[in-house]
Amino acid sequence: MNRNLSAQDVVGEIEFELAHSSLSQDELGQGIQAVRQYQNQVRAEIFGLRGNPDPRELARRQFQLNDMLLAVLHQMSLNLRASQLEQRQLAEWVRDRASGFEGLPQPVAGNVQTFERSNVTRSDDDLLLEIQNILRSSKLWLDPDVRPVRVPIIGGLLTRLRAALHDVSLFYTNRLGARQTAINQALCDAILRLAEEQQQLAHARRVDVEDGK
C-alpha cells in the first residue's frame, strides 16, 4: 500500500493535521474525566460514610468541583474562540486557494489564550458572561449567616456546637445544596453548549478541508 503513496498524499495529510490540530479533545476529555472521578469520590465520602454531612464540608467540596468545572469551561471557551479565529482564517485560505493564490496563511492561533477581541462572536460573549455570573453567584456563599467562632484550635468545635444547637445543619445543607446544584447545572449546560459548537466547527472544518483542498 505504501508504494502508492505520493507527495500529494503526505501534503494533504499535513494540511488536514493543520486544520485539525486546534480541535483536539483529548485533554478536554481527560479534564472532564478527572472532575467526574473526583465528584464520585466526594459523593462517596460525604454521603456514604457520614450520616449527617457537615454543611461547611459540603460547600467546600462543591466549591472545588466548581473550580474544576470552571477550569474546564474556561479552557473550552478559549479553545472555541481560537477555533473561530482559525475557522475564519481557513475560510480566507480556501477563498485564496480557489483564486490560485499560493503560499497562504493557515490558522496560527491554535490553543493560544489571547485573541483579538474582534474575533469573539456574540455567543462567546454570552458564554463568558455566563461564566462570570456563575463566579459572582458563587460568592453568595461567602457570607454565611452563622459566622465561625474565631478561637484558635477549638473554634471549629464551638462553631459546630453552635450550629448543632440551632439545628441549622439541615437548613444550610439544603439551601447550599440547592444553590450549588443550580450552579453545577448552569456549568454543565454551558459546557454542553460549548461542546456542541466545537463539534459543529470541527464538522464544518472537515467538510471544508475534504471538499476544497
Binding site: N2, R3, L5, S6, A7, V10, V11, E13, I14, E15, E17, L18, S21, Q30, G31, A34, V35, Q37, Y38, Q41, R56, A59, R60, Q64, M68, A71, V72, Q75, W93, G103, L104, P105, Q106, P107, V108, A109, G110, V112, Q113, T114, F115, E116, R117, L128, Q132, L135, R136, L142, P144, P148, V149, R150, V151, P152, I153, I154, G155, G156, L157, T159
Partner: protein, 784 residues
C-alpha cells in the same frame, strides 16, 4: 487604549535591572511606563537608573519588604494595569500586547503568564497555570487543566483552591488592586502573590493565569532567596509568612480553626524533620540544626501572632482613593530609539556593538540537534548562525529536540527544546524516517505558533535536511527560508536507497523548497545540484547565496608559514576516509610528493569509512591498513589520526603547513576555510562549490577531480615554494576575516531574511510584526 505601569521591585540587583530595562525597550506594546521601586540598596542601582532619567519613575522603599515595595509602586502607578515583573527576568516580546488583549475583558481583575527559568544547565518551567489553597499549598505547574487541582484537593482534605499567578509575571487592574488595598506588607518576601490570589477570590473578582506570554527568568541570588535555596538564617521567614497566610485566608475562606492549627503544626514539623534529616546527613551541624529549629519557632510564633492579632497591613483606603483619583497620564518608557535597540543577552547583559538603522529581526532557527548537546554539521552551522545573528543585534530563537520541553539561553539565542510525540501521521508508521520527520515538523510548528504569539518571531529558517520547516511553510503562518544543507534525498541517492521512506522524504524536501519563501544555498554549485536533484525551478529573487562562515581564530593563534624554516613540512588532510573525499587520489599522490620533497610528512585525520564505500569489501582492509601495507617504507611519513576531537582538529590545522582535501565533490567545503583560518594554503578540486571557496593561485591551488598527478604536482609546487606557502596562507586568512567569518555570514542571512519577510508582508500575510503604535515609523509591519 489600555495603558500599563510596569513595576519592578529591586534591591542590589543593578546588573539584572540593567538587563531588564534594555529588554523593555523591545516590548511590542508601547503604551507603558516603568516604575522602579528601589529598596535599601548598596550597589549601583541608582547609577543604572540615572541613565533612564525622565523615562523611568523611581520610587524608594525604606526596607527590604517586597509587599511594601509593590504597594509603593502601585500607589505611584498611572496605568490602567499594573504589571509586576522580577528584576532578574525579561519578558517575551509580546508580553504587554497579550496582557492588553486579556484585559479588554472588563471583568478580569488579574492574570499572569508562564515563568521559565532559563539556566543553561537546568532549565525548567517555574510556573504555569498555578493554583494555591487557603492553607498555603501550591501547585505551580498544571500539566492538564484540572490535574493539579484534583491531586491537591485529594491530599489536603478539602481546602479551598484558587488560581494563582507568580510574582515574576503577574498583572492586575490597578483599580481592582487598589480597592483591595494592594499587598499585605506583613509578607516580607514570600506568599504575597498567593495572598492576593486568595483575596481576589474572596472578593469575588475574576483572575486566572494563562499558559502563554512567558517571562524568562534567571533567579539571581538575594538575601531572601536563601530561604528557598539553602537552609539559612532567613528560612524562618517562609514559616512566618505561611502561618500568617493560613490563618488569615483560612479564616476568610471558612476553614475550621482546628484545620488551620493542624496545618501550622505540619509546617513546623516538616521543617524540623528537614533539619533533622540534614543533620543526620551531616549537611548541617547539630548546633546549627538546633538553631534552625529555634528560628522555626520564631517564624511560627510571629506568623501566628500576626495572623490572630494584627490587622492586614494594606494600603489605607484614603491613600488608595487618592491614587484612584489621579488623572495624570503615564510617562512613556520607550522613545524613538527604542525600536532600534539591539538584543540583550539576559544571562550576562551583553549587547552587541552595532548601530542599527532598521529594527532588529526576530528569527527562529530550526535544528534537530544543537550544542552543547550535539555538534554535528547542521547543529554547528545553526549555532554559528545564532551567534552571528546575535552579534548583528537580532533576537534569535532556536528550536531543537530533547527528552523534555525546556527553554534556555545559550550563546546568543533562546534555545527551545521540544519533545515531540509520535501521535500524528499514524498512516506512515511503517516509514520510519518520514513518520518521525512529519511528527517533528508538526511539533516544531506547534511551538512556532506560540513563538509567533509570544515572541513575535518574523521568519523561520529551516535546514533542508528532513524538511523540519515544511509544516510551517504549508501553513503560511510565517515566511520560511531554507538552508540547502546536504539533504536526505542526496544521501539516499549516494547510498542507493530506493525504498518508499527515502523516496517520500526526498519528495517532502522538494515540497519544502517549492513552498519556502526564500532559498539559501551556500554556493552556486549547491543551488545547481538541488535544482537538478529535485527538479525544481527557483526564481533568482527568492534565492540568496550565503557562504558559510566560521569563528576567526584569534590573531595570536594564527601561524603563517615561516620562510626561514628548514625542518619537516606537514601536509594535513581532514575528512572521512572514503572515495568521495578523494582519499584514493591522495594515496596515489603521496609517494610522488615524498620522492620530490623528502622532508614532507602527511597527517590524515578522519574516520575510516571503507566499510560503507565498498573499499573494505574489495580489499579486505581499512584505508590506513591498506596504505601501510602498500607503502611500508613510507609508513613513518604518513600518520593516521582517526577521528579527532574539535580541539585536536584546531591544533592540527594550526600546526600544518599545507592543507589538502581532494574531494570529488563538496557542496561547500568548510574544511578549506578552517585551514585558511590559521593562514594555511589549501589544495582542492574543481568540483562542486570548492572553486567558490578556494581562489586558485591566491589562497591555494585547484586541480581536476580524480587527477592524482595534478594533485601531486600542486603539492610539490607549494611545498618547494616557502614564499607561496606564506603568501597564499595569509591571503586565505584575509578571506576568512572578510568573506567567511560567522558575522559576515549572519549579515547575509539577515539581509535574505529581510527580503523574505518583506515579500511575505507584501502579500499581506505577516502576523508577527510589532505594534503600529510604537514610536518610530518603519517598524516591521503590524498585525493584520
Amino acid at each position: 487604549m489600555i495603558t500599563f505601569s510596569i513595576i519592578v521591585n529591586t534591591v542590589d540587583r543593578a546588573a539584572q535591572l540593567r538587563i531588564l530595562l534594555r529588554a523593555l525597550e523591545q516590548q511590542s506594546y508601547p503604551h507603558f511606563e516603568v516604575i522602579v521601586v528601589v529598596g535599601p540598596t548598596k550597589d549601583d542601582t541608582l547609577g543604572v537608573l540615572k541613565n533612564y532619567e525622565g523615562r523611568v519613575v523611581v520610587e524608594r522603599c525604606p526596607e527590604a519588604n517586597l509587599s511594601l515595595s509593590r504597594n509603593i509602586g502601585l500607589l505611584a502607578a498611572r496605568g490602567d494595569i499594573v504589571a509586576y515583573i522580577d528584576d532578574d527576568a525579561v519578558p517575551c516580546f509580546n508580553w504587554l500586547e497579550s496582557l492588553a488583549k486579556l484585559f479588554e475583558d472588563d471583568a478580569l481583575a488579574g492574570t499572569g503568564g508562564e515563568v521559565m527559568a532559563i539556566y543553561l544547565q537546568s532549565p525548567f518551567m517555574q510556573h504555569r497555570l498555578g493554583i494555591v489553597s487557603s492553607q498555603a499549598e501550591h501547585v505551580n505547574i498544571r500539566t492538564s487543566w484540572v490535574d493539579g487541582l484534583v491531586k491537591a484537593a485529594e491530599s489536603s482534605q478539602g481546602h479551598q483552591w484558587f488560581p494563582r499567578m507568580m510574582g515574576a509575571n503577574m498583572a492586575f487592574r490597578r483599580k481592582a488592586l487598589l480597592e483591595m488595598g494592594g499587598f499585605d506588607a506583613f509578607y516580607i518576601y514570600i506568599a504575597e502573590e498567593s495572598d492576593i490570589a486568595a483575596r481576589l477570590a474572596q472578593a469575588g473578582k475574576v483572575s486566572y493565569p494563562v499558559s502563554e506570554m512567558p517571562v524568562y527568568h534567571l533567579p539571581a541570588s538575594s538575601r531572601n532567596r536563601v530561604v528557598f535555596t539553602n537552609v539559612g538564617r532567613w528560612w524562618w521567614l517562609e514559616t512566618r509568612s505561611a502561618a500568617y497566610y493560613c490563618i488569615k485566608n483560612g479564616r476568610d475562606h471558612g476553614e475550621a480553626s482546628s484545620t488551620i492549627a493542624l496545618r501550622l503544626l505540619h509546617l513546623v514539623n516538616g521543617h524540623w524533620r528537614r533539619y533533622f534529616d540534614l543533620a543526620r546527613a551531616k549537611e548541617l551541624g547539630v548546633g546549627q540544626a538546633l538553631k534552625m529549629g529555634a528560628l522555626e519557632l520564631r517564624g511560627i510564633t510571629a506568623g501566628t501572632m500576626g495572623g490572630l492579632m494584627r490587622e492586614r497591613q494594606i494600603i489605607a483606603p484614603a491613600d488608595a482613593q487618592n491614587a484612584l483619583m489621579t488623572t495624570e497620564a503615564i510617562r512613556p518608557f520607550q522613545d524613538a530609539q527604542s525600536p532600534l535597540q539591539p538584543v540583550v543577552d539576559p544571562t550576562n547583559g551583553r549587547t552587541p556593538h552595532v548601530t542599527l538603522t532598521e529594527p532588529p529581526l526576530r528569527i527562529c532557527l530550526l535544528s534537530h540537534t544543537y550544542p552543547p548537546m550535539a555538534y554535528d554539521g547542521v547543529a554547528r552551522l545553526t549555532h554559528l548562525m545564532a551567534r552571528g545573528l546575535f552579534e548583528q543585534g537580532h533576537t534569535v530563537h532556536v528550536l531543537t529536540t530533547a527528552e523534555r520541553n525546556s527553554t534556555a539561553f545559550y550563546d546568543g539565542a533562546y534555545v527551545h527544546s521540544i519533545k515531540y510525540d509520535l501521535d500524528r501521521y499514524e498512516r506512515y508508521h511503517g516509514l520510519t524516517r518520514l513518520f518521525h520527520a512529519l511528527n517533528h515538523s508538526h511539533a516544531a510548528h506547534d511551538k512556532i505558533k506560540r513563538l509567533i504569539q509570544n515572541d513575535g518571531i518574523q521568519i523561520v529558517d529551516s535546514p533542508l535536511w528532513l524538511f523540519e520547516g515544511l509544516t510551517t511553510a504549508i501553513s503560511g503562518a510565517l515566511p520560511v527560508a531554507v538552508r540547502l544543507v546536504t539533504a536526505g534525498a542526496q544521501v539516499a541517492a549516494m547510498h542507493n536507497e530506493r525504498d518508499d521512506d527515502s523516496r517520500l522524504v526526498g519528495q517532502m524536501e522538494r515540497e519544502l523548497i517549492v513552498r519556502a519563501q526564500h532559498i539559501l544555498p551556500n554556493t552556486q554549485a549547491t543551488l545547481d545540484n538541488v535544482i537538478k536533484t529535485y527538479g525544481v525551478e527557483i526564481a533568482p529573487e527568492r534565492c540568496s547565496i550565503v557562504p558559510y562562515g566560521i569563528v576567526p581564530a584569534p590573531e595570536d593563534a594564527v601561524r603563517p608559514f615561516d620562510v626561514t624554516r628548514q625542518d619537516d613540512l606537514t601536509v594535513l588532510f581532514v575528512g572521512r576516509l572514503e572515495k568521495r573525499k578523494g582519499i584514493a587520489d591522495l594515496f596515489t599522490a603521496i609517494p610522488k610528493v615524498l620522492e620530490k620533497v623528502p622532508n614532507a610528512r602527511f597527517v590524515i585525520a578522519g574516520a575510516d569509512n571503507s566499510r560503507h564505500d565498498g573499499f573494505a569489501e574489495r580489499t579486505g582492509m581499512s584505508y590506513a591498513t591498506w596504505f601501510n601495507e602498500q607503502h611500508k617504507a613510507l609508513a613513518s611519513r604518513v600518520e593516521f589520526k582517526g577521528m579527532v576531537s574539535d580541539d585536536d582538529l584546531q591544533k592540527l590545522y594550526q600546526a600544518c603547513d599545507l592543507f589538502v582535501a581532494p574531494s570529488l565533490y563538496e557542496s561547500f567545503g568548510l574544511v578549506y576555510i578552517e585551514a585558511m583560518n590559521y593562514a594555511k594554503p589549501v589544495i582542492g578540486c574543481r568540483a562542486g562549490g570548492i572553486p567558490e571557496v578556494v581562489d586558485d593561485g591566491v589562497t591555494g591551488r585547484l586541480v581536476d577531480p580524480e587527477s592524482p598527478g595534478q594533485l601531486a604536482e600542486a603539492m610539490i609546487g607549494l611545498l618547494q615554494s616557502p614564499q607561496h606557502l606564506r603568501e597564499m596562507g595569509l591571503a586565505g586568512r584575509g578571506q576568512v576575516l572578510t568573506r567567511f567569518s560567522y558575522t559576515a555570514m549572519a549579515e547575509k542571512f539577515a539581509a535574505a531574511y529581510r527580503l523574505a519577510v518583506g515579500a511575505h508582508t507584501q502579500r499581506g500575510h505577516s502576523r508577527a510584526g510589532g505594534n503600529p503604535d510604537r514610536p518610530t515609523a518603519g517598524f516591521p509591519p503590524a498585525r493584520e
